[in-house]
């Protein structure tokens, strides 16, 4: 219908007429419109990741306003589909081909080189740090300029001078108008809108097409281009890799994201979670060896090693910088990990190395999307042709990274954030972040997130966000992919050089092609294009490879559509379940999880021995026969369903296949809950009696599954017949997934004093994979104590360090609040007597066990004794994530 409409508008004939009779030739300006707009849209689609532009370019393909046979038109239609499925990068080859087929030889030749060159060199526009008279950074407008100027160069020989001048001046006028409008009606939400950007980008070419005709010329045979291209591609593909014998982590410039911290079952807090211990293990498994570089004076490793300089909080000496640069020039490979807003001075320290020695500079800023949130780009699979290392059509959730101020000449973009704002840091605030407010004065660009370039015989890659590889986040599939991708890219310094050099040569050749005979330029263009795409594919093909069990992961995690894996609680709505903490904690038990979000991949049981499904959709549930075979082979499966899924008929049917039925397990429970809408500890919270109703599974006697161990939350089964020693794996089913969510057990940012529940749940889930006895559901170190009179007559209550309440106990006339604290004092006194012996008189004794108050609030307990061992003061401390209170409370009892 769309094709018919376009033909009727522009060709003044119906599609049927035009396709069935050669008399119905299109008008010249119709073809001009088509040609200019398809090129402009393609440019926008590949440089600005604009979805509307991709759709427009793809839609224009099958409606080419020229006489075409049915076969050709069907091929065009298939090409359009491939663009939509595989990505707009295919347009770099398709557009020149279509122009050639429609008899525009020179535009075809020029676009053949220029489009690819443009895409590879476009990231350099982010280095254009020019405002001039404009109120908006010029780089924010680069999409308008390239979308008009590139078609001008491509159609240079076949359109009039007036059209050319118009194509060069119209975008400039547009930019000036927009810049003036930024003080009035133009808002960030308008300029960042994909549809608006498409209109702004295509407008100059659409206007020019009204008074242009694209003259046709004789097209040389296709083989002049294709054969050299294939030769170039094959030649580059034969260049050998330079694999790594080891990965060395620099630990001589500060302990930020150290690889030396412990990350085990008893490791809690940000000094364990917010480090690279897991990355160190992954590196070891990936290349066979990982080690630590401890001080600058130590000799650098062999040039067959990868050195990782990660967010250096201490400066690098000039001598070391020079030594490192020479090492790279001799063939060493360097991976530099940077972060936002010069956090802990890391940007300054990295820039000192990169600017002087490699011509690259990082901004002290933070990058975020059009709404002020972290970027989540999706790189289509065809991006792998151009060296993109995560081109797998999956979302990549960046945390908050920096942008580039200056790219090296031979820099190749390996990853991007997608269209994003760059905001300088605010050093008046503790976290160095600015306000995260989209504003037009900040640069809005498809910013690079990782860059690679060759230097001498070696290569360097820089990644601009450090958080993805922290222990708490590395379980996500995309962050593993990024690590493998960067390692793979750095194993190919020659390909990096060819890709970057090829981009420059292609650009120059394409422009020169307008002035030279095609039989000279086409074979050269083909050869260079083949080399460029060959090297791009060598680097980017890692995007299409799979994670390997034992090397990249041990436990494969798949989440359903309602389960989230976020690190910022602001991204999770109340009522949603987030599971980052429990999944990341599997790493503490050497289980190296890898997690796929819903829709990224259909689980296939042969990919892994151990599986964790969190709130899986029925479509993700493995088939009966596959599950049976998996269990028979000793594989373990854990399914954490949400309570709501207990009524899902598809889930119930799947259980029934196994001879499992569901039933309620009901028990009384006491919780620390809200008793009034205020929700505060003082007056608004208290013990709440309720019934805890959980759905559990049980097996029919005829079921192939034999009950192994069960409680209210989890039921485990093995496969019959039972053998000793056990050969079957476990299948564990729960309808209490919520009890493993961050809301229940705490988030990844929890401090070194974890909630008892968090510690217990981490061990519980891990126990299914490590063949460890299942821990008690009630932690033994969380103790309730019957009140016992303790002679401390006064109390003080602090919330987040601020005094909220103070009082004296009067045995007869206590009000309800005072009575509450008297009871709490007596519980604490009893607890200390039985579970917490003093260390030294007059010093604080911190009890290792925790007190569980009558109202189900968890307390750390500390106390001081006199020289004769009597209690002289007690302090109860509730850290904000221990219970549901949300604040830190200190309750002190004394005189």
């Amino acid at each position: 219908m769309f094709s018919g409409l376009l033909c009727r508008v522009f060709c003044r004939v119906s599609l049927r007429e035009r396709l069935t009779t050669q008399k119905a030739q299109p008008l010249g300006w119709a073809f001009s419109f088509w040609g200019l707009v398809i090129v402009a849209a393609s440019v926008l689609a590949v440089t600005d990741a604009n979805t509307f532009a991709t759709w427009l370019a793809a839609s224009l393909l099958p409606v080419t306003p020229a006489y075409l046979s049915w076969l050709k038109r069907t091929i065009f239609f298939a090409l359009a589909l491939s663009v939509l499925v595989a990505g707009p990068q295919l347009l770099l080859l398709i557009v020149p081909a279509v122009l050639a087929i429609t008899g525009r030889a020179y535009p075809a030749a020029v676009s053949f080189g220029l489009l690819t060159s443009l895409v590879l060199l476009y990231p350099h526009f982010q280095s254009v740090n020019v405002h001039g008279p404009l109120s908006i950074p010029l780089a924010s407008f680069s999409f308008i300029l390239v979308s008009a100027w590139v078609p001008a160069i491509i159609f240079f020989r076949v359109i009039s001078w007036k059209s050319l001048i118009a194509l060069f001046l119209l975008p400039v006028a547009t930019i000036l108008i927009l810049s003036i409008s930024s003080a009035h009606w133009l808002k960030p939400s308008i300029l960042t809108n994909d549809l608006v950007r498409l209109i702004l980008a295509v407008l100059p070419t659409a206007i020019v097409s009204c008074f242009s005709t694209l003259r046709s010329t004789v097209v040389p045979p296709l083989k002049w281009t294709v054969i050299p291209m294939l030769v170039g591609w094959a030649t580059v593909s034969l260049i050998p890799y330079a694999p790594f014998s080891s990965i060395v982590f620099d630990e001589s410039h500060g302990k930020w994201e150290t690889v030396q911290s412990s990350f085990g079952p008893e490791s809690f807090g940000r000094n364990s979670n917010y480090t690279y211990t897991e990355l160190f293990k992954k590196a070891d498994r990936l290349v066979g060896r990982s080690s630590i570089f401890e001080n600058e004076s130590a000799p650098l490793p062999g040039v067959d090693s990868l050195m990782i300089v990660k967010v250096p909080a201490e400066s690098l000496s000039e001598m070391f910088e020079s030594k490192l640069t020479d090492w790279v020039a001799k063939g060493g490979r360097l991976l530099v990990i940077a972060d936002h807003t010069d956090l802990y001075d890391t940007t300054q320290n990295i820039n000192s190395l990169l600017t002087k020695n490699f011509g690259m500079r990082i901004n002290a800023d933070a990058v975020y999307d059009a709404t002020g949130m972290p970027n989540i780009p999706t790189i289509p699979v065809a991006g792998g042709l151009l060296g993109q290392i995560v081109a797998n059509n999956r979302q990549f959730a960046w945390q908050t990274g920096a942008s580039l101020e200056q790219l090296p000449t031979l820099g190749i973009e390996l990853m991007s954030y997608g269209p994003s704002f760059s905001e300088p840091g605010d050093y008046s605030r503790a976290n160095r972040f600015g306000p995260f407010v989209p504003e037009l004065t900040k640069r809005y660009f498809n910013h690079s997130a990782a860059i690679g370039f060759a230097h001498g015989l070696g290569a360097v890659a820089v990644v601009l966000d450090s958080t993805p590889w922290s222990n708490f986040s590395i379980f996500k599939e995309e962050y593993n992919q990024m690590f493998r991708g960067l390692v793979r890219a750095l194993e190919q310094p020659y390909q990096l050089r060819i890709l970057a050099t090829g981009a420059i040569i292609l650009g120059i050749l394409a422009i020169v092609a307008n002035a030279l005979p095609l039989n000279v330029t086409l074979p050269i263009l083909g050869l260079i294009m083949g080399c460029t795409l060959g090297s791009g594919t060598s680097i980017g093909s890692v995007s299409w490879s799979n994670h390997i069990e034992g090397r990249d992961f041990n436990v494969r995690v798949h989440t359903g559509p309602n389960a989230r894996l976020e690190f910022l609680k602001q991204l999770v709505l109340p009522g949603e379940h987030n599971y980052s903490r429990i999944v990341s904690a599997l790493g503490k038990y050497d289980l190296m999880p890898i997690a796929f979000s819903f829709g990224e991949e259909h689980p296939t049981l042969i990919d892994s021995k151990d599986w964790l499904f969190i709130e899986p959709s029925p479509a993700q549930l493995p088939e009966y026969r596959h599950t049976r075979r998996h269990l028979r082979q000793g594989g373990n499966l854990v399914f954490l369903f949400s309570p709501q899924q207990a009524t899902d008929t598809n889930v119930l049917r799947w259980l029934n296949d196994w001879g499992l039925i569901t039933q309620n397990s009901i028990g009384l429970s006491v919780s620390d809950g809200m008793t009034s809408s205020s929700g505060s500890f003082l007056g608004g919270r208290g013990p709440v009696l309720s019934r805890n109703i959980r759905v559990i599974t049980t097996a029919y006697g005829s079921s192939l599954l034999k009950p192994y161990e069960a409680d209210q939350f989890l039921q485990s089964y093995t496969l019959r017949p039972t053998k000793l020693p056990r050969e079957s794996g476990f299948i564990t089913i729960s309808f209490s997934a919520d009890q493993f969510s961050d809301d229940a057990i705490g988030e990844v940012w929890e401090g070194i004093n974890p909630s008892s529940l968090g510690r217990q749940r981490e061990r519980l889930l891990a126990s299914f994979y490590i063949d460890e006895e299942r821990p008690d559901l009630m932690p033994s170190y969380l103790i309730r104590s019957a009140p016992r009179l303790t002679e401390l007559p006064a109390f003080i209550v602090l919330e987040n360090g601020a005094k909220k309440l103070a009082g004296q106990f009067e045995n007869t006339n206590d009000d309800a609040t005072t009575a509450y604290f008297r009871s709490l004092r007596d519980q604490a006194g009893s607890f200390i007597t039985t579970h917490c012996h003093p260390t030294e008189p007059n010093k604080l004794t911190e009890c290792s066990a925790r007190l569980l108050g009558d109202d189900m609030i968890e307390w750390l307990v500390g106390w001081r004794s006199s020289s004769d061992g009597k209690i002289i003061a007690i302090e109860l401390l509730h850290e904000r994530r221990m219970s549901g209170l949300g604040s830190t409370w200190n309750v002190i009892f004394g005189k």
Binding site: D345, Q399, F436, G751, I892, K895
Partner: protein, 115 residues
């Protein structure tokens, strides 16, 4: 006369350069210590016992003599990446008040209204 002035200028210049240099070196070293302290602080507990921070020799702890400010604000604004409420620039106020909107709407509203 001219020579004296020249000498004065020369010595003044040297004195200024040295003091600026010393100041710069001092600042750099201060910044490095601050960064190191912050990184090491990641291993510190989020909150503290008030009793831990008081003088040790006291036999009788009188609550009205305790230095309550010794625990600060118990790291209520603990900052790591965008963790506690800072993800959208909306600090503590937003993470509670804008719970539903934080992910989308608060990017503008919070940074202005909730800081």
């Amino acid at each position: 006369m001219r020579v004296t002035r020249l000498l004065q200028t020369f010595f003044l210049t040297i004195a200024f350069s040295l003091s600026f240099n010393a100041l710069a070196v001092g600042l750099i070293s201060q910044a490095q210590s601050a960064a190191t302290a912050e990184i090491n602080g990641l291993g510190a507990p989020d909150s503290q016992f008030v009793l831990e921070t008081q003088a040790e020799e006291t036999e009788n702890i009188m609550l009205n003599e305790l230095v309550l400010s010794s625990v600060g604000d118990q790291n209520v604004d603990e900052i790591n990446q965008r963790s506690t409420g800072c993800s959208t620039g909306c600090s503590t106020g937003c993470s509670t008040g804008c719970s539903t909107g934080c992910s989308v709407g608060c990017s503008v509203g919070c940074s202005v209204g909730c800081r």
